[in-house]
Symmetry: C2
């Protein structure tokens, strides 16, 4: 007897975790657009528009700006696999789970990894980066803009300047920040960056925007060894995204449609307005949590607007609260990662999920559940 | 002044190239399902179903059967990156562009690549594989089931047996074959295989199904060195797809929805019926092309049903004909790859595109255009 597979009917969630965020209905509908070939002139025009719009959100003139056909982690690997050659000295700033991952991947591609360790929940101190740079000729400094595991937003400009003074490139992880707060690639001097589709850009997961500036492109072109990864080899990928249209892989057409629509929404809203929306919602959430008697985790003055971290109060069961939020309110939030597992909650207000009504819903739901679980703030 | 970005409106194509194929409207609609988190219990249930259904189309009991978050080329790289360690002897069968790519990628991951060269358009002779195996201890034999650049379908079983007799694993590229013709992983003794979502499975591009049998899993577990690629490291990916649900990347939720719906369609149709549909449409197309006076490229008796290759007649302009098909009939077919560039056309009848009416449309359109271009077959 055949097994029965029914229609898909997942719960209709309000996604307030660290990503994916809710997609605007327009973005979902874009994926119903009939598939065309990856070399169809109509699709090539769409690729051009995606590149233009990505340059807009990245605030860059970089020609090498496009999406890698994989998730945000594919973007991280693409940047490191292409910028690192075996033996290169790479300074990695680590104050959370994604800094750790950068160190791990740089190491796999043969880097001599120098770790600048920071405290989770605090920003990286530029003086420590300077110290690391002074100790040896460095190819690359890698840093996370908004650490998704801690909710800290890191000032980038000073560290970019330090990298350049020491002849190094600056790679910034903008997975959580892009589209929700300023990421000024050119003005800040970021040489390379990767992001994810499913956070403040408001597109479903599966694509990773990247951008490489002139110094980073020169590093690609001056490589002495081929990139180990073929799929992530930018010398091939960029030929598909350039006017040459060299076949490399079959582009994920429907996701590129979704990305174009998500970026179009960003463009229609305007960056300033979009950043203001994220800032105001984040402030409302952070104020509300503190008024409830909860303690925020990220360092004051460096709290990301789109991702708030809050310590789980003594005696409260992490999984039970998150399960109740999901079952009773269909609201998803995130738990802690790595050393913060079980110790904090991560609440995202990203892209289409970033709405004042979601702040109100979440605060009301959490308050009710915490009271029922015996919390007296 | 702001630039205007209008609604997406690509041409509504009939996709008869080497992939992507047309997606059934049900598959497109599945992507409008609201996004949920990658660890949401409802999504985890969907992942389980995708694994069950993939085992059905792969005709396997392999536990390690799931989708890699990237295109078919990501699947190729995943298999090679995980099965190859530096210094391993890998016999790669090359009778087309995708065999060449396997050799390229195996080499990047440090393999000692031994090439068994075949003629493009012909099958690989097992005797040559046997000869290569006899010359040194081999870790892996890699072969393409349906070579997308030539339209040849390769018998696998005998070569799998040879590999095993020599203590080697058998890796088969089933990107073009899976879902359109028999791929009997367990019965044929294929140790590892990767495919693509966008061909006979009828899902949009962006996911790569893979399956690893017990011998291949043992090879993973006995590695002496870590896999260079973090994104494609199966020791991490399989922990997300197992009951552990270890976070590795943010799954491309909407594409997994589409994959489930595409696989559900395969399951509803049944493998035998689906293979018959592809066989009959392929035969009708190949007969029609020959009746028109055209010459098929692939070796008789080894012509793939879902991908037909035909030589471009003397004096006919490849690009002009393909452009006219697209402009006048909104029909996409593919040109030649690699050494066959400009010398043949590739016509796919895959998944939802595999319909008798598409055969009729394509033959009529091609006949008219060729006549107008001066061809007298």
């Amino acid at each position: 007897m055949k097994r029965h597979y029914g229609d898909l009917k997942p719960g209709t969630r309000v996604l307030l975790g660290p990503g994916p965020s809710d997609a605007d209905p327009r973005v979902l509908r874009a994926m119903v657009t009939p598939v065309v070939g990856h070399l169809d002139p109509d699709f090539l025009a769409t690729m051009d528009e995606v590149q233009e719009l990505l340059r807009y959100v990245y605030q860059t003139e970089n020609e090498l700006t496009f999406t890698v056909p994989g998730t945000g982690m594919a973007g991280m690997e693409t940047c490191l696999a292409n910028l690192v050659e075996p033996g290169d000295r790479v300074v990695v700033c680590i104050n959370g789970a994604f800094g750790l991952r950068m160190a791990e991947i740089a190491g796999r591609y043969g880097a001599e990894v120098v770790r600048v360790e920071g405290t989770w929940g605090q920003v990286i101190n530029p003086a420590k980066v300077k110290e690391a740079l002074a100790q040896g000729q460095t190819k690359l400094v890698a840093i996370v803009h908004v650490e998704t595991s801690t909710g800290v937003i890191q000032p980038i400009e000073e560290i970019a300047d330090l990298a350049h003074e020491h002849g190094a490139l600056l790679l910034a992880d903008t997975v959580t920040s892009l589209g929700g707060t300023e990421v000024a690639i050119d003005r800040w001097g970021i040489d390379a960056s990767y992001s994810g589709s499913q956070k403040c850009l408001g597109c479903p997961p599966g694509l990773s925007p990247i951008t490489f500036g002139p110094r980073a492109v020169a590093a690609l072109e001056n490589r002495k060894t081929p990139v180990t990864s073929w799929y992530f080899d930018l010398s091939l990928l960029r030929r598909y995204w350039s006017s040459e249209r060299f076949y490399h892989h079959t582009a994920p057409i429907s996701l590129v449609y979704a990305m174009r629509e998500a970026l179009r929404l960003v463009y229609e809203e305007g960056l300033e307005e979009r950043f203001r929306r994220h800032r105001e919602a984040g402030e409302a959430l952070q104020t509300g949590l503190q008024e409830m008697g909860l303690k925020l985790f990220a360092q004051e003055g460096h709290r990301a607007p789109m991702l708030t971290t809050v310590l789980i109060p003594e005696g409260i069961d992490d999984l039970k609260v998150r399960r109740r939020l999901l079952d009773e309110y269909s609201v998803e939030i995130g738990g802690g990662l790595g050393e913060m597992k079980g110790r904090l909650w991560r609440i995202g207000l990203m892209g289409h999920s970033c709405q004042r009504r979601n702040v109100a819903l979440f605060l009301a739901a959490l308050q009710r559940i915490l009271q029922e679980e015996g919390f007296r703030g």
